[in-house]
Symmetry: C2
Subunit: 326 residues, 2 copies
C-alpha cells in the first residue's frame, strides 16, 4: 500500500528530474464553465504525460543491485515512453513489450528513447508469453503501469504540486478532475490531497462505455467494462480498477464523472485556442468534465488535470475540424 | 533608456501576475539540432504571448492618478490582448484601436478581455486619427508595443527567468534565439543577460524579406524593409528597428538570423509533436533557427524563445499538413 511517507520520498527523488508543470488558466474557459478553471498541464511533462513520474519513482526506488539488471514493461503508449526515458536516465536497460500492430511512431519513439522494443503478435501470442521470453533469466524487474505502490507514489507528486499551485492562485476548496484509466494518477493525487489539502477532492473522469471507475465507485466494488477497446481515449482505457488503486479512490474520491468522445475533442480544440497546449483525447477528459458537466461539480473553482498530449495529427485535425471554430 | 534597475523593478511588479513559463526540452529536438535545445514557452503566458509582461509592466508603472484615467493602444494582435488583460486586472479602461478588417476572432477576444475596441477603416483613415478621436480629451495614456522603457523592462523579466532556468538545466554558455519584430523582447532579454549571465547572448530571428534587424545589425544603423506586409509571421513584422531597442541590440546582440516561412511551419509541427505546445509562425522563428540553422550558432546548447501561440486553426492545419508526418 502506498503511504504518504512513500509519496514524500518519491517527490524528493523526482526533484530535478520531473518537470514542475504549469497550472494554466484562461478567462474564456472560466466563462464556459461558469467558474474558475485551473488546468494542470501534465502534457508538458517529459515524454508528454504524467507517466514519467511513476516510472522514474519506481525505477529509482529499486535496490541498486536489482536496478542495474534492467527493467521491463508492457505498454503501447505513454507508460512505455515514461519507462524508456527514466531507464535511459538511470543508464539501465529497458525492454518494452509492444503489440506488433502498435502505431509505428510509438514504436519508433520508444526505441529512440533508448529502449529495446519486443514486438508480439496479438493474434497468436499473449504479452505475458512475449515478456517471459524477453526475460528468460528473470533478471529484469517489471514496472507496472499503475498497480504498484512506488508508481502511485510517483504520480502523487503531481498532487503535491497541485496543492501549492492552487494555493498560489487562491483556490482552497475545489474538485480535482483526473482522467482515469487504472487509477494510478488519481489515487496518487488523492493521497497527496488528503495529507495537504482536505478541501480539494479527486473526481475520476472516464469516457462513456469505459467508465469502470464510475460504476465501481457507485457499487463499492470493482466492476468490469463490457467494452474493452475501440475508444479515441486509448490512453485511459482499462477493463477494471486496480487492486491497489481502487481501495484508495473508494475511500477518498467523489462520484466518478463520465464524458463523451466528442466532449474530449471539443476540450482539445479549446485547449488549443485558449491554453496553447496539445492534448490527446483521454488527456482532455478532465477538462471536458470541467467545461461540460459543471452541474455535477461543487465550488467556485475546479482543477482539471490534463494528463497527456501524445496524439496523432489525424486525431488532432479531427478535433480542430469538428470544434475548432470559435 | 531602460536600465537594469528598471528591469529589476518591473520583475518585482510582475511577481504573482506574469506566469513563470516553463523551459521545455525534448531529446528528439536535440537530435535534429545536433545540440541541446531549450525552449522558453512564452506561448503559455497569459493571453498567449510575452506581450502581457510588457503591458503589465508599463501600466503598473504609471502614476496612480494617470493610470486611473485609462490606457490606449494600437494593435491587431498580441499587444492588444496583453494590454486589454493587464488593464482589466488594474480595473482601468483600455481602448484598443484596431483596423476594421482585423480577424473577427481577434476583435472578439480583445473585447472579451474587457477592452473597448475602436475600429477604423484602413482605406480612409489612419490609426492615429482614429486614436485621436477615441482620446479627444487626451486622458488615456498610450501604451506602445515596444519602444517604451517600461515595456522593454517588462519583457526583460523573460530574460531573468531564462538565466535561472538555464542554470537549473546546467546550461551556462549559449545563444538565446528571439523572434524579433520591434525588438522589445530581444532588447529586454539582452539587458537581463548582460546583468546576470554574460555567457548567454541574444540573437534576433526574423522571417525572410522582413529581416530589418539582420540588415540593421550588419549596417550598424536602422534599415527599413522593402516589403511591409504579407507574411505568415504577422506577429513579428515591423518595418524597422525601434529607436530605443536598436541601440541596445546593436551593442549586445550577435548577428541577426533569418528563417523561411516553411521553416517556421516545420518548427510548429515539431513543437506540436515533441513539446505539445501550440506556436504561431512568428513565435516559432527562434526554434526554426535553432533546428535548421545550427551552422550559424555556437555552443553545445541553444535556447529558443517561443514567443506566442495565437494562431488560426487554418494556419496550424497547414503546418501539420506540410510537416506533421514524422
Amino acid at each position: 500500500m502506498s503511504t504518504i511517507q512513500m509519496l514524500k520520498a518519491a517527490e524528493k527523488r523526482l526533484k530535478g528530474h520531473a518537470r514542475r508543470t504549469p497550472m494554466l488558466t484562461s478567462p474564456f474557459l472560466d466563462d464556459i464553465a461558469g467558474r474558475r478553471v485551473l488546468v494542470k498541464a501534465e502534457c508538458l511533462q517529459h515524454t508528454g504525460s504524467f507517466k514519467y513520474r511513476g516510472a522514474w519513482s519506481a525505477i529509482s526506488a529499486l535496490p541498486k543491485e536489482v536496478r542495474r539488471n534492467g527493467v521491463i514493461a508492457y505498454s503501447s503508449g505513454n507508460h512505455a515512453q515514461g519507462v524508456a526515458l527514466a531507464a535511459s536516465q538511470h543508464k539501465i536497460k529497458a525492454v518494452i513489450v509492444m503489440p506488433s500492430d502498435a502505431p509505428k511512431i510509438k514504436i519508433d519513439n520508444t526505441k529512440a528513447l533508448g529502449a529495446k522494443v519486443v514486438l508480439y503478435d496479438r493474434e497468436t501470442e499473449s504479452r505475458e508469453e512475449a515478456a517471459e521470453k524477453a526475460n528468460a533469466d528473470g533478471s529484469l524487474t517489471l514496472i507496472k503501469p499503475f498497480d504498484d505502490p512506488e508508481v502511485i507514489a510517483g504520480q502523487g507528486s503531481t498532487g503535491i504540486e497541485i496543492v501549492f499551485q492552487a494555493k498560489d492562485l487562491k483556490v482552497r476548496d475545489a474538485e480535482v478532475l483526473v482522467p482515469t484509466g487504472g487509477g494510478g494518477l488519481a489515487s496518487g493525487i488523492a493521497l497527496a490531497l488528503k495529507e495537504y489539502a482536505q478541501l480539494l477532492r479527486v473526481r475520476t473522469c472516464e469516457p462513456q462505455d469505459f467508465d469502470d471507475y464510475a460504476h465501481s465507485l457507485r457499487a463499492g466494488r470493482p466492476v468490469v467494462n463490457k467494452r474493452l477497446s475501440g475508444s479515441l481515449c486509448d490512453a485511459i482505457i482499462t477493463p477494471t480498477p486496480g487492486l491497489l488503486t481502487f481501495p484508495i479512490l473508494n475511500r477518498l474520491a467523489g462520484p466518478g464523472m463520465v464524458v463523451t468522445e466528442d466532449e474530449c475533442l471539443h476540450a482539445m480544440a479549446l485547449a488549443f485556442h485558449r491554453l496553447r497546449i496539445v492534448l490527446e483525447p483521454g488527456g482532455a477528459a478532465g477538462l471536458a468534465a470541467a467545461l461540460f458537466h459543471g452541474d455535477q461539480i461543487d465550488g467556485d473553482a475546479v482543477i482539471a488535470v490534463a494528463t497527456g498530449g501524445n496524439v496523432d495529427k489525424e486525431v488532432f485535425e479531427m478535433a480542430l475540424a469538428k470544434f475548432g471554430d470559435i
